[in-house]
Amino acid sequence: MLRKGQFFSVDLVIGGALFLFILLSVYTAYNGFSLHVRNQELNNDLFAIGYYVSSSLIETSGEPYDWETKNYDGGQGGEKVKEDIFSLGLSQNRDGWVLDQYKINKFVELNQSYNDVKDVLGVRGPGYELFVNVSSSGNQYVFGIAPKNAENIVNVDRFGLLNGAEAKINVKVWQHG
């Protein structure tokens, strides 16, 4: 009986269990680390997009510079957003930071072509969405989709002038949960 007991000894079972436990721990730690790196990369990506969107809007007037004067109706006699706007900017001139009321109004109007505008501003990625809020003198001008069920959100706040008053431009780039 004792000799049979040696067959599957307690030592072997404990040793094997300990070994498997260590193996699983290493595997879990590795997966956790990979997930952390991926999330960090995603946040960096969202931040870079948010930063360039805010810069494009505040620091440039867009191309063509008079893009806000055109009628964008998807090509039905008017212009198409993606084909006819090279870049979007809300500034009055190339020097930036002085925002143009007409450009802001047109930008808000372009909510109807949200996906095209998102592409023009370089917001691309799986489930990436954009929300822009320009607030000045108690007025709010909103473009895009406000975050809901968001898994990752990046906020970029910039400041400029609108009609001689301070304007705050809040850009949110977020990803669906």
Binding site: F19, Y30, S56, E59, E63, K82, F86, R94, V120, L121
Partner: protein, 133 residues
Amino acid sequence: MIKGRGQLGIELLVVFIIISGLFLIILNVVTVMDNNKIVNKAEMDAKTAVDKISFEINNLYLLGDGANSSLLLPGYLDNNVNYTLNVYPEEHVVEIQFNGKRYLGQVITGDVNYSSTGKNIKLENRKGRIYAT
């Protein structure tokens, strides 16, 4: 005595089989981890390359007329993986293709003239249009 020796031999065999099994499991796990690492390293290199050029295009556009710079992209991605770069201005996209996969970078201007075929790229902003040669 004969029984005892036989049991010892079988125990050794069983322990050997179990240890070999565990060793094979570890080997399999380590190989999968290593393969993932290699794939991820090439993907990371691709992402870095495409980000490098798309960020540079964005920066030059924001800097305005006359701004210029040059970029030296790696000849190959990790593990000698070859790649190709494409720019689709109307889509505001820079694309890198490697190993049948692709990764996209985004740019804030659609006014890009990309004619470079090498990995040493010169970029210039001429009146709002970005030239990459």
